[in-house]
Amino acid sequence: MKHFFNRKDTIVTEALDGFLATAGSGALARLDGYPEIKVVLRADWDKTKVAVVSGGGAGHEPSHAGFVGAGMLTAAVSGEIFASPSVEAVLAAIRATTGPAGCLLVVKNYTGDRLNFGLAAEKARAEGLSVEMVIVGDDIALPDIAQPRGVAGTLFVHKIAGHLSETGRDLASVAAAARAAAKDIFSLGISLSSCSIPGQAHEERFGVDDGELGLGIHGEPGVERIALQSAGALVAIMAERLAARLDAGSRYALLINNLGSVPPLEMSLIANAVLASPLAKAVTLTIGPGHLMTALNMNGFSLSLLKLDAEREAALKAPVGPHAWLPAKPVRAPVVVAIARPAIGATAKAASRDAAAERLIRAVCQKLISLEEPLNALDAKAGDGDTGSTVATGARSILECIDTLPLADHAATAASIGDTLGTSMGGSSGVLLSIFFTAASQSLGSGAPLGKALLAGLDRMTFYGGAKVGDRTMVDALEPALKALDAIGLEAAAKAARQGAEATVAMRKAKAGRSAYIGRQLDTADPGALAVAEVFAAVAALFAPA
């Protein structure tokens, strides 16, 4: 696995410096003790309230430094990646933040964290400071384990303790509320890959088609291998295990945590699946989805549930300083707004007949359909080989609706063709031609003659499409053709279109459209320009004097 880093032994301090440098507000500071002591603390802390201190190994960002600020943590102590901080570091954080109101340590249940925070607490007490410790073990992966580990549900405790401290509660009541909350939190994680540590050899233990259920936040393997299946099925397994821990009739807050590298798109899909599962019946508040307590780049997520009462709900909803915290939101069905109807007057005109117009449209469409294969072959040399099919699809869609077109009204006909091409043809060429006909229709509707109206369409099409003559697109044929049509007549237009299409053979590089990605001499005509030339030739033949 590849990683962005400089040196293995400065990863954490460099990351903390970057975090502090971009935190902005001046609300944060760090203790001067690098590299042994890595403590981020509130710069505005005056020790009059209960200090809430947490931390652990690095690699869980934004935990824990990201949650330092008003209403959450007073200080965060970081160790090296996945290694608990030292006693000295924890003790330094306690000394820096603890006044007469005392200090609550929020510790995730790992041997290292328990020992280092525990020893620091003992030493701080020996110095005369009031220190309480709450240990969070919210993971339910192994139901019978004596010491369940602490994972993302720990953030509920940070939020509740931080809020109670901010509102001026004393150490005993903050600690009691934190301990009670810790007992009411249940979390479960799932992942499709483990995480890799920068600068450390990594061997992916996951097979192509499996994931792990019940894994923690350090890349330690999960309790169970699990076959890769739909997100809904995976969420259902997790929901079932979590639901078994819930009290019937109680309300819960749900925290949806990205363990590292799940794309936001998939996290939202997961949130949707969770809120469609039986678990949703009990959930009244959601936090996330988002990066809250990660495991480096683990491609997984965790779900955490906290039983709610009025005090916890108020604590979770209270605004906080740290930006990394995602506000708790009440669960509500999404609002769906009806699609707006077209403005009056823009509705389609009734079908009408015009023999000449119908003959013209049929000739153009049939010509384009006959060119499907040759144009595809030509396009395959430079683009994705679908120009012929795209154009033929558009032409067929026009032929299919020709009996419904208001042919006697040329402006309305151009508008209808624009609408049809925009929805049926697809691709960027469908949209560009739709713009061409829609703009031409507007020009015709305001009284412009056909030649000027088509030039107006071209103007809009090139404005939105970005191509101009010389860029090896259909514009190379269309622009000279329409100019000649307006100035001279149909035969001159056909000739100009042909010359324009032939000129694209020598054009070195396409600057717009798919061919733009190639950037070398192609020695073939642009298929779009060629199609334009063929259409003008067909139309000129149609109207040629017998």
Binding site: E80, A83, S86, V87, G112, L115, I197, L215
Partner: protein, 199 residues
């Protein structure tokens, strides 16, 4: 037994940990979080940096100082646990220990580590090596026999199911891998035995 220069013992311990750091990390990656090799290396390099100051103290004080250094500054779980081992050894060791004095102090130190980690032998931890080493020492086994006992004891953690530490979060899946802490303990036993006996 000969009383070796304490700074030589530190160098031997730090050398063996440095030489096996990758192996320890790989063992830890299999069933833990992969930080054991780095943690141990960081700890013993910190001790090596102050080896002369430690060696200037009487042996019990030197061991206590090494233990305190590991407990206070290393972090992870191994810092406090290995630190406790050395601190407790120093607490009960006579200034010029004989084999019985060493065995008695090791017995007390094992109790201290067990209390600190709320663990006991049989739970796939460093205690599974320390306990047989203590027994071999108390039974008057040779240094070579003690080293072999330590290696065998580390091997014996492979089929165990972890009940403490990060590997315990795997349940049955922790079976089939050697415990990294047991391995590092066996490595330290070998390094110390070789330094003392010159084997």
């Amino acid at each position: 037994m000969a009383a070796p220069d304490f700074s030589r013992l530190i160098a031997a311990a730090a050398d063996t940990i440095a030489a096996h750091a990758e192996e320890l990390t790989a063992l830890d990656q299999a069933i833990g979080d992969g930080d054991h090799g780095l943690n141990m290396k960081r700890g013993f390099e910190a001790v090596r940096a102050e080896a002369d100051a430690f060696a200037a103290k009487p042996l019990p004080e030197a061991l206590k100082a090494v233990g305190t250094k590991l407990v206070m500054t290393v972090g992870g779980a191994s810092g406090p646990l290995f630190g406790t081992l050395f601190m407790a050894l120093g607490k009960d060791l006579p200034e010029a220990p004989d084999r019985n004095g060493l065995a008695a102090a090791l017995g007390k130190a094992i109790e201290a580590v067990a209390a600190r980690g709320k663990s006991q032998p049989g739970q796939k931890t460093m205690l599974d090596v320390l306990q047989p080493v203590y027994e071999a020492l108390a039974q008057g086994k040779t240094a070579t026999e003690i080293v072999i006992a330590a290696d065998k004891a580390a091997e014996a953690t492979v089929p165990m199911k972890a009940l403490r530490g990060r590997a315990s979060f795997l349940g049955e899946r922790s079976i089939g891998h050697m415990d990294a802490g047991a391995r590092s303990t066996a490595l330290l036993v070998r390094a110390v035995a070789e330094a003392i006996e010159g084997i």
